[in-house]
């Protein structure tokens, strides 16, 4: 269980997060959605331990404040949004960075790359890959870091900031399948998402943010309503349901060819 209570984050004199409550269960995929500037990445960064905050965050029952980086690294892996590498590392070397010395096994690197569809690309230089491939290499690194979703009875966590932002639809679905499988084996996943339909299909719980607050956190069917999404995003949003009761949003442009 990952619980954040009364979280206030300030940058200079501006308050970015206004005392919010967020919770994520192990074995579930929890998505954070909301308009740009709502504080989604700040919330994920705070959960990752990147910045000072007021309030209390517990990961598997332990306060993350004052936890040592190495101890945190064994429990959760973090995928930031954009991450250029400084030196010409190979793909295998990048993935290996997430591994602890004791578990730096070649087969974990190969299997992690296989899962993100980059099998056999170990020797390629990271900097020569496309943006989407680089994002998947980092995903493989993050997966390798928390390779077993549950260790010693405690769930491990993936904290992902827009994991599919540079990916085509095929790889978007692949990443969502990876994330579902991780949660299915008992791990916890928290991800910031922009794509509402992908979120509705993949998440067990959705936190909708607006202006530094969580305005709703519930299962997707309860959060994806015309009223809630319309108010948060500041535009008319028409939510439909598939025959299997999955919510989806079909954008309508006023005066466009479809309307």
């Amino acid at each position: 269980m990952l619980i954040a209570r009364d979280i206030v984050v300030k940058h200079r004199r501006r308050t970015i997060l206004h005392g919010l409550l967020f919770r994520a269960e192990a074995g579930q995929v929890t998505a954070i959605i909301g308009p740009s500037g709502a504080g989604k990445s700040t919330l994920l960064g705070t959960l990752s331990g990147d910045q000072p905050f007021e309030g209390r965050i517990t990961l598997n029952g332990r306060d993350i404040r004052g936890a040592r980086p190495a101890e945190m690294a064994r429990q959760r892996a973090v995928l930031p949004q954009a991450m250029p590498m400084a030196f010409p590392f190979t793909v295998a070397e990048v993935v290996r960075l997430g591994l602890h010395e004791a578990m730096a096994l070649p087969h974990v690197v190969a299997q992690a790359l296989g899962r993100v569809g980059l099998a056999g690309r170990e020797a390629a230089l990271f900097q020569e890959l496309s943006g989407g491939e680089q994002q998947r290499v980092h995903l493989a690194r993050v997966l390798a870091q928390v390779w077993a979703p549950v260790t010693g009875g405690a769930p491990r966590w993936l904290l992902l900031d827009e994991p599919v932002s540079s990916l085509d639809i095929g790889h978007q679905l692949q990443v969502m399948a990876i994330v579902r499988a991780f949660a299915g084996q008992g791990g916890g996943v928290v991800m910031v998402m922009h794509d509402l339909n992908l979120t509705a299909m993949s998440a067990d719980s959705v936190a909708l943010m607006q202006a530094g607050r969580i305005v709703a956190q519930d299962r997707p069917g309860a959060v994806f309503t015309d009223a809630l999404l319309g108010a948060a995003y500041g535009c008319a949003v028409a939510v439909n349901r598939t025959p299997r009761d999955c919510a989806y949003v079909l954008p309508q442009v006023a005066g466009g060819p479809g309307g």
Partner: protein, 352 residues
């Protein structure tokens, strides 16, 4: 070849086997360079005839003993220490700043040392506490430390060090130190001016056992500590936040890196003056050959830096023998164009 391809088949994209082979090659290269440094020089002394004398049980002539034991050997060893210190400092700073063009000269360490040296040369006559031949190295070391620690204090706020602030403040501190150096040079008389100019161009000619005894621990300890930074510097290539996410104590890493560089570079510049470009050229060459993994880059940089500086020193004392060329001129003549080549090759690749 079979063994090699099997290694690669087991862990593709892993260049550690190649990097370890490179370590062996570089160690051999350093041994040969040191031997050459001992064997050649301005005097007619021959290492081989001296060895033949020893083998035949004859006493060495006083001249041979002085040249080999008291002049060439400490000089070769000082060259090893200084070259290793500059190359490892360069590699550590580049890892810390995540930029392959950073050099101890850029973050103000060398400028601080220069200021210390010129203060000692111009105003030193009035200080009688420290023996004259020690005054310049001690002052240069103090200057390098003062510059590095000032820089670190400026860039650290609330326990966090901003690498970008450090880089920019380093440029400002360098300018300030150079202005003060210029002021003192302006005040200096002709003899002092000449002393400073030669110190500034760098030389290993003053190497002696007593100097070595002071410099060896100051340079050796940070060099021995440097490999402990390797995993942290690798992680830092991901950026500071991501390095923390994979379990690295980033703030401790930065503090340790700054201390190591200040001690190693400060001592190296103090005993040998301004020797440029070793810190940029060596790590870059090694990254081209065996990749940027600091676990291998740092020891390999020490070996290659030592070998290159011993060879450069050999050139400096044989090219226009019996006179000597300042070694800083030789490293700059080779290093300057190389630096430009690196810059041009990376233009467009690295946006900073």
């Amino acid at each position: 070849m079979v063994a090699v391809s099997q290694t690669w088949a087991r862990a593709p994209g892993d260049r550690s086997a190649a990097a370890r082979r490179l370590t062996a090659v570089l160690a051999l290269m350093l041994a040969l360079a040191a031997l050459a440094g001992l064997a050649a020089g301005a005097s007619g002394t021959s290492l081989w005839s001296a060895l033949a004398d020893l083998a035949a049980g004859r006493e060495l002539s006083l001249r041979d003993r002085v040249v080999l034991w008291d002049i060439r050997l400490p000089r070769v060893m000082m060259g090893c220490l200084v070259g290793a210190a500059l190359a490892v400092s360069g590699a550590v700073l580049q890892g810390l700043f995540r930029n392959p063009l950073v050099d101890p000269g850029i973050v103000g360490v060398s400028a601080g040392a220069s200021l210390g040296a010129v203060v000692a040369i111009v105003l030193g006559g009035s200080v009688a506490v420290i023996p004259a031949q020690w005054l310049v190295p001690v002052a240069a070391f103090a200057g390098a430390w003062a510059a590095t620690l000032t820089l670190y204090r400026i860039a650290t706020r609330a326990g966090r060090t901003s690498v970008a602030t450090m880089l920019l403040a380093g440029i400002a501190l360098t300018a300030l130190a150079m202005a003060l150096t210029g002021l003192l040079v302006y005040m200096a008389d002709d003899a002092q001016l000449r002393d400073f100019t030669f110190w500034n161009m760098g030389s290993l000619s003053g190497a002696s056992w007593s100097k070595l005894a002071v410099a060896a621990p100051l340079i050796g300890l940070p060099l021995l500590a440097a490999p402990a930074l390797a995993r942290g510097l690798n992680g830092l290539a991901l950026g500071e936040a991501a390095a923390g996410h994979i379990g690295i104590e980033v703030q401790r890493l930065k503090a340790a890196a700054v201390l190591i560089v200040a001690a190693a570079t400060g001592a190296a510049v103090a005993v040998s003056g301004g020797i440029g470009f070793v810190g940029i050229v060596v790590p870059h060459l090694l990254r081209l050959v065996s990749g940027p993994d600091h676990r291998y880059l740092l020891p390999n940089a020490a070996l290659l830096g030592a070998a290159l500086l011993v060879l450069a020193d050999l050139a400096s004392r044989t090219v226009i023998a019996p006179a000597e060329l300042p070694i800083g001129i030789i490293t700059a003549v080779i290093g300057g164009p190389f630096f430009l080549y690196v810059l041009l090759r990376q233009r467009g690749l690295v946006d900073l």
